[in-house]
């Protein structure tokens, strides 16, 4: 069960409308390595992962990723708020407007809709944790590219916070990998799997 707090995890301050940047930020709202992918990925993997530490880590990080997804949504909304249709069109958001108006929709920076095919959930916990370590690094790299694309100090500040969170998550998944590996060594699996 989740409880909702009506406050962003990190403040979102933008200087002015920036439609192109809003378009790029969609990479982290509905792209393959987006916050949405991360949240769904981790919260889905929780059921079969062994050890309570691993379950708790997936729950906590998965929950935080949803909070990040909300931060991205707020950023995109503020950057596109109240912009005339012709402006949206000029900035390459005409296709988005045709289908959604000014509403947000989980697609990537190029408009490709979010799909569960972006993520993996595997019973083998070693495979799953490597998926997550990779996901954190891909998200970190994406944030660096987004920082390079922006010239708004407010946006850069928020993106830097989100990027740093990925670094911390990587460390936590690394520790989880070790805990799970120890667990597997002590518990012989019925299928005779050898880790």
């Amino acid at each position: 069960m989740w409880s909702y707090e009506k406050i962003l995890q990190y403040p979102v301050k933008v200087k002015k409308n920036d439609l192109e940047m809003a378009k790029y930020l969609y990479a982290q709202y509905g792209g393959p390595d987006s916050e949405l992918s991360a949240g769904i990925r981790y919260l889905t993997q929780r059921y079969t992962i062994p050890t309570d530490e691993a379950k708790a880590t997936l729950t906590n990080i998965g929950t935080e990723e949803l909070a990040h997804w909300e931060v991205l949504g707020a950023l995109i909304y503020k950057l596109t708020e109240g912009v005339p249709v012709q402006e949206l069109r000029k900035a390459g958001l005409g296709a988005h407007y045709a289908e959604h108006g000014r509403a947000l929709y989980p697609h990537d920076a190029a408009g490709v809709p979010w799909t569960a095919a972006f993520i993996q959930s595997h019973e083998d916990p070693i495979a799953t944790l490597h998926e997550n370590l990779a996901a954190e690094e891909k998200a970190r790299a994406t944030y660096e590219n987004l920082i390079n694309l922006s010239n708004d100090p407010g946006i850069i500040d928020t993106l830097s916070f989100l990027r740093q969170r990925e670094v911390v998550h990587f460390q936590r998944f690394g520790e989880t990998l070790d805990i799970v590996r120890d667990y597997l060594k002590d518990h012989e699996y019925k299928n005779g799997k050898c880790y």
Binding site: N145, Q164, G174, D178
Partner: protein
């Protein structure tokens, strides 16, 4: 090859005894210092040793 035979092989390279090949390891963090809450929120982590800010502009 049996495990006994495996053990008899002497490697020229001095692998760290705790580590196996083809396995990834991330060292455990030991809790030492921490930032004040306000500073931690600003930086995105409570721990100085985990604070790795992005400084390098890619071309």
């Amino acid at each position: 090859m049996t495990e006994e035979e495996m053990e008899k092989i002497e490697f020229d390279i001095d692998y760290h005894p705790e580590y196996r090949l083809a396995q990834a390891y991330i060292p455990f963090q030991i809790y030492e210092e921490h930032y004040e809450p306000q500073e931690a929120l600003k930086k995105g982590t409570l721990f100085p040793e985990l604070y790795h800010p992005y400084r390098q502009e890619k071309y």
